[in-house]
């Protein structure tokens, strides 16, 4: 895995997108590992009766996707210090979800120096389904 250093990061840099296509199998497995049996995530008929077009992608799975954008970028010596997100609209099995990040700010005076990322996930229609933020400590170039 490659390492990014603080000196090579500038405000406005674009990161990603990390493209995720959650299938019914993925939702089922995520439901299993989180021990969340909520039927809207695995029973299509039930989801339709609740007014959704298909089974819903778990809010926390989408949070994990945004976390992955940040951790893939920061490399093994980066430290994710804070992560937040809000699920604004629903995502469904079969959607193509693009997870993006952008450098919102840098703090050279912090030790180790820190970077703030703006994070978001959008679907193919360009709708932002999830919006979030992360703070990462990065190493200085040796």
């Amino acid at each position: 895995m490659s390492q990014i250093y603080f000196e090579s990061v500038s405000k406005g840099d674009s990161i990603g997108p990390l493209v995720k296509q959650p299938t019914e199998i993925q939702l089922f497995r995520f439901a299993g590992v989180t021990w969340n049996a909520h039927r809207i995530h695995w029973d299509k008929e039930w989801a339709r009766e609740e007014g959704y077009p298909n089974v819903l992608v778990q809010a926390q799975l989408q949070g994990a996707f945004l976390a992955q954008v940040a951790t893939d970028w920061m490399g093994p010596e980066g430290v994710l210090k804070r992560l937040s997100w809000s699920n604004r609209r629903s995502a469904f099995a079969g959607d193509t979800l693009s997870c993006h990040a952008k450098v919102a700010g840098t703090r050279a005076e912090a030790e180790p120096p820190e970077v703030d990322l703006e994070l978001w996930e959008e679907n193919r229609r360009g709708e932002r389904l999830v919006e979030g933020a992360a703070t990462i400590a990065l190493p200085r170039r040796p």
Partner: protein, 181 residues
Amino acid sequence: MAEKLRPPHADLIPDDVAAQLGSTFTQELGEVSLRDIQRFAAAVGDTNLLYFDEEYARTTRWGGIIAPPTMLTATMVWGRGPLLTEMHPDGRSADGPVRTPPGRMVGGGTEVELIAAVRPGDSLTRTILVKDIYQTEGRSGPLVFLVIETTYRNQHGEEVLRSTSTAINRPERAGAEEKGV
């Protein structure tokens, strides 16, 4: 932003829910295993070697395999969870010790502060604090918000993670149909 009404001025927050404000609940969560970590990462589709390759992870600042950052907050139920007879028809069950108002609940957001790495073999405890309860009048009807702060500690008593989550409840109010809620 609509005005936030708090008990006793919030008519949609039942007394037993309002009474929890400021209460804390501590739960033993048990051990986080290497398998838990790797199954979680596999389910997310995150192949980061820090979750899968001990030899590689040892060469990094972490000194070994660590848990993915959202694993603790994503785990809905720890331990065995409810028995089948304790579950609702929609697959949900009473989630933890915090009482929620009647009506549909949705997640309103999660904030995670990562304080220290969680490693295979760690035994975790969490303390849940009911931080805020309020109601607002949204465009599509009244909403009740529950703000829950959770602190996770490992077997050494060290804080490893703190999360704040907001649950949004659409209460069932008499006469709601007439208002088109």
